[in-house]
Subunit: 154 residues, 2 copies
């Protein structure tokens, strides 16, 4: 028995950046399964993020207990993934975020990263567009060949 699981942790500077649920009783602690279900990811993923230092839930014995703050971090992680950041990049930003909360330099860094990522995505988009036009062209060519074939075979 290793007691010491009675630190409540305020966790009330939650919901970083955006969002605000007005509804009633908010849960303040989540199991790994809770989060997995809520965000539709696997337990493995959650543990993996922890392994990589992106999350740091407290423990009750072996079991992980996630605070609202952890959950908020998870949200950021997932949003980071959606916009194409690697876990490593996400970790860097989160670390900055923790270091000195709400600070200027850290916001600037993030801003730059966002800008860079925007450029990168725009590049990727244009590559895809090129690929698409090449594909469509070829598609037409092959289609044409098939039609001629059909005529010839008749």
């Amino acid at each position: 028995m290793e007691g010491d699981f009675r630190r409540y942790e305020p966790d009330e500077k939650d919901e970083l950046l955006v969002e605000g649920e007005a509804g009633g009783q908010k849960k303040t602690v989540f199991t790994i399964g809770d989060l997995a279900r809520e965000f539709d990811i696997t337990l493995r993923a959650l543990r993996f993020y922890e392994d990589k230092g992106l999350l740091n839930p407290r423990r009750q014995g072996l079991q992980r207990l996630y605070s609202r703050r952890d959950r908020a971090r998870l949200k950021l992680i997932l949003m980071g993934k959606r916009v194409g950041f690697s876990l490593t990049e996400i970790k860097e930003m989160l670390d900055l975020y923790d270091l000195k909360d709400g600070q200027v330099t850290q916001l600037r860094v993030a801003l730059d990263k966002f800008g860079a990522q925007i450029s990168l995505l725009e590049e990727q988009r244009s590559e895809i567009d090129q690929a698409l036009s090449e594909l469509r062209r070829t598609h037409k060519v092959v289609e044409g060949m098939l039609k001629e074939r059909a005529k010839a075979d008749h």
Copy 2:
């Protein structure tokens, strides 16, 4: 000495699908270095494609000798890559292409693959678009935070 390198191989149903050089004397055989330079890829890549069954240059002893046909296949491989096919998929199509040259079924298969890939790319593009708008939004938010900070600090 293992003679038998005097088969000329017509190779004249070349330049698959498109393209037609009108210029003078065409080379009919290429070394691995030739192709690497021409298409700006590494020797390693060429050998890798061979390993994966995408190319099959004949040998003169140990040295690889690529025919025009091999070169044409390489072009297809690279174009396939550009449009986002995996080497495995490219191989499948090339295999079909070899099976019975210029045949209908194989063209249909390719056509389908192209269609599928077009859809896939369109999907990816829209995902990127979503990511971009999310990023731009967040970018603005953070920018705003910085501006307020600047005001407050003044």
